[in-house]
Symmetry: C2
Subunit: 335 residues, 2 copies
Amino acid sequence: MSEIRKDPTSHTWIVLSTERGKRPSDFREREVGPPSALRPCPFCGGEEMAPPEDVHAIWPGEIDKRTKGWKTRVLPNKYPALRPGIELSQAEADTIYHLLSGVGAHEVIVESPNHEDTLATMPPSQIEAVIRTYCQRYKFWRRDPRVTFVLIFKNYGVAAGASLEHPHSQLVATPIIPPRIFEELEEAKDYYLRNKECIYCRMIKAEAEAKVSRKVLENDTMFALCPFASRFPCELYILPKKHAAALEEITQKEVSDLAKMISKVFRRMNKVLNDPPYNFMIHVAPLRTPGLLFYHWHIEIIPRLTMPAGFEWGTGIYINIISPEDAAKALRQAK
Amino acid sequence: MSEIRKDPTSHTWIVLSTERGKRPSDFREREVGPPSALRPCPFCGGEEMAPPEDVHAIWPGEIDKRTKGWKTRVLPNKYPALRPGIELSQAEADTIYHLLSGVGAHEVIVESPNHEDTLATMPPSQIEAVIRTYCQRYKFWRRDPRVTFVLIFKNYGVAAGASLEHPHSQLVATPIIPPRIFEELEEAKDYYLRNKECIYCRMIKAEAEAKVSRKVLENDTMFALCPFASRFPCELYILPKKHAAALEEITQKEVSDLAKMISKVFRRMNKVLNDPPYNFMIHVAPLRTPGLLFYHWHIEIIPRLTMPAGFEWGTGIYINIISPEDAAKALRQAK
């Protein structure tokens, strides 16, 4: 069973997940090489792969009306960092240490039955099914009072931490508000109290009007930009133009526009960066707070082209060697 | 010239350092392979490598009394993230954005004339020279009123971001207190106000007395432990037993004990983890605050065996698959 621990000397939390039974000496051999191209791929599988009921996984996700086959589905992670079905409890491991039971969830969202698909190559209609599946999972986890936050994310490519090729996202539900989200909520609330405006709404306006713009793309309802303080070369955010704190507030028109935007963004990234490894993270308000006036859901995409090292780990400051202005320009021009 | 930028939506700061003249499309080819074994190695070089005066680099660092050759020296970084000789200025890049000029410093501390040396193989007397050189650089930068914080760190191995083999550390001096240090100061001050005791002093006591200990090693003046909320497998801290906020307050006895401790720690890491890549960071109080009652300098060592991915970047929570209790046990037993 995993544990959630707080570092007494910083704002850091960890999930101690020893389910894989690894020992320190197992790291003597360094894993290298491409993601497992193992066949049969566990995410290509059919009905026999249906997960047990007790992990709350749903199957199928969406059905293709034409072929009657599945379009997306949700499976339990084989090595869950956090699990449902556990009592949320706190314990002082020692007078100075703080720990919680590892309650939560860890799911895999299979994005397509097609093993070779990527967000750059699948049709926008398939990406729409993925977005609707995300919304379904937010709504599902909103009902669990022990869960406070849900992160949906995606690791693509070995250098970004992917261990399987088949297109998939992951979901982790946590009983705490994660430090990174807490920071965003703090900054957004502070800005809202001073300016009576959402900082993200303001940022979209600023980038739409700027002379040297960091805007990459926009359509009727979605906006893509390289953030002013990009931590990584070609870091990119996608935000809804209409203020909303949670992805599950999205309309059907927005689902369609977001799918087209994701498709275009990754096709352009492929042109500029040649199929880069990346992490894709959806930031939403903590659960059960839709309608929040000061927070604005968004997708953060970080191509993993450079390596944070001692300076970044030691300070929390990121050295970036490509300006977001140059990155946005290259992505705008990559039609 | 580089810029320091603050993200308006989080506590993140970045250094935008475009000195290398890279463009987004330069990332189409991914760099792989071992650190450059280029000869002549720029850090093996002799007097012709002496840096220009205007970068404040010193040469030589320490001289070997026996051979009359240098033991350590300090060179400017070829691609400095931050530079001295620039006015510290603030500018609002836009109504919501905040930026500073890239003032500071970026130095290389060559740890030995011997290209093949590592912290695990060099004699403790050589490590003592390295520690004294670190102290000299803290004292040097303390005098510059524009500099607020100095991070000394070391990247070892390709997977930890090292680009050159020759044993070296780096120093970056910043005009801001970095977010990670700010967090530590906040938590330490808070604990001190409630308990009239330094949290790090308390942690050393707790680990010395614990039944299931995370202690790895101790000698007269130094203590090594795997922190309770280790972010990475076999993460390790070295702390002085006597309270001190800054490394430059160290005594000669402590220099000697720290050198022996560093040597032992890396020899044991090699035994358990087979020459792992690692980042090594020295956390000290901001400059011009020696004697701080609530902060305690320490060295953080993170072996780079696992890869933070979407979950870690999206939440700031770290999934660790090895408990610090198991890591400490393995390192204690690796004699």
